[in-house]
Amino acid sequence: MARTLITLPAAVRRDAVFQVRTLLQHPMESGFRVGADGRVLPRDIVRRFRCLYNGELVIEAELSPAIAANPFIEFSVRAVDSGSLLFEWTGDQGFAQREQRPLVVA
């Protein structure tokens, strides 16, 4: 499991709009670099990122090799009900990671 860093408020007011920042530890090998042996290093990137809020879509991103290593994504969410945010990353070579964070809406 790769390390993740997810920043979001622990509690928010109903209908408030808040920022969520996510960082995933991943090399994002672009597939354009040449290794020490002269061969092109195979591509190994995170292709997709998705965030669901109580099962409803917040944002879905399609990433490319032009995204820097340790992909960082910041976006905004509208608070509706208490529950949880689910973060999903999927990528090359069977990479898949899910993280869940609780959210209290006052």
Binding site: V17, F18, S30, F32, R33, V34, G38, V40, L52, Y53, N54, E56, L57, V58, I59, E60, A61, E62, L63, S64, P65, A66, I67, A68, A69, P71, F72, I73, E74, F75, S76, V77, R78, V80
Partner: protein, 143 residues
């Protein structure tokens, strides 16, 4: 002996030429823009692409896209494209019903000084873009 070394050097140089990295072209950028807009005409404006105009290190460049002055639920998708990275695509984002403001920030790689294009697709089918030129002193992707 010296001739052989020279020959080897030339052969190696030829190999290096073959390994020259692929690069996106204005044509592939236009194709990517067309693919995202679905054929809708792209108009300048509304979208705001935030990036430092002078980039020290192309390996990780903070960039953000916003659509100020447009109601949030009108913005369906955002995308970012480059002119001279190995590929034109950078990121495409689709917003769901739980998204707040239609903004997105990430960190990207820049292979060289070039132009970036941010595009937003709105609910009425129109597409808006902003082009930004950046200067890169240390490039990414090629080391």
């Amino acid at each position: 002996m010296a001739g052989l070394a020279r020959r080897q050097l030339l052969a190696a140089a030829g190999g290096l030429w073959l390994l020259r990295p692929v690069q996106a072209t204005p044509e592939s950028l236009n194709a990517a823009l067309r693919d995202f807009s679905g054929g809708a005409p792209l108009r300048e404006g509304r979208v705001q692409l935030d990036i430092a105009p002078l980039v020290d290190n192309g390996n990780t460049v903070p960039v953000s896209v916003a659509v100020p002055g447009v109601p949030a639920e009108q913005v369906l998708a955002l995308a970012l494209f480059t002119e001279r990275n190995p590929q034109s695509e950078v990121v495409r984002v689709q917003f769901g019903p739980r998204a707040g403001e239609r903004t997105m920030a990430t960190r990207m790689r820049l292979a060289t000084s070039q132009q970036l294009v941010a595009v937003a697709r709105l609910a009425d089918g129109s597409c808006w873009m902003q082009r930004v030129d950046v200067i890169v002193t240390l490039s990414a992707c090629l080391e």
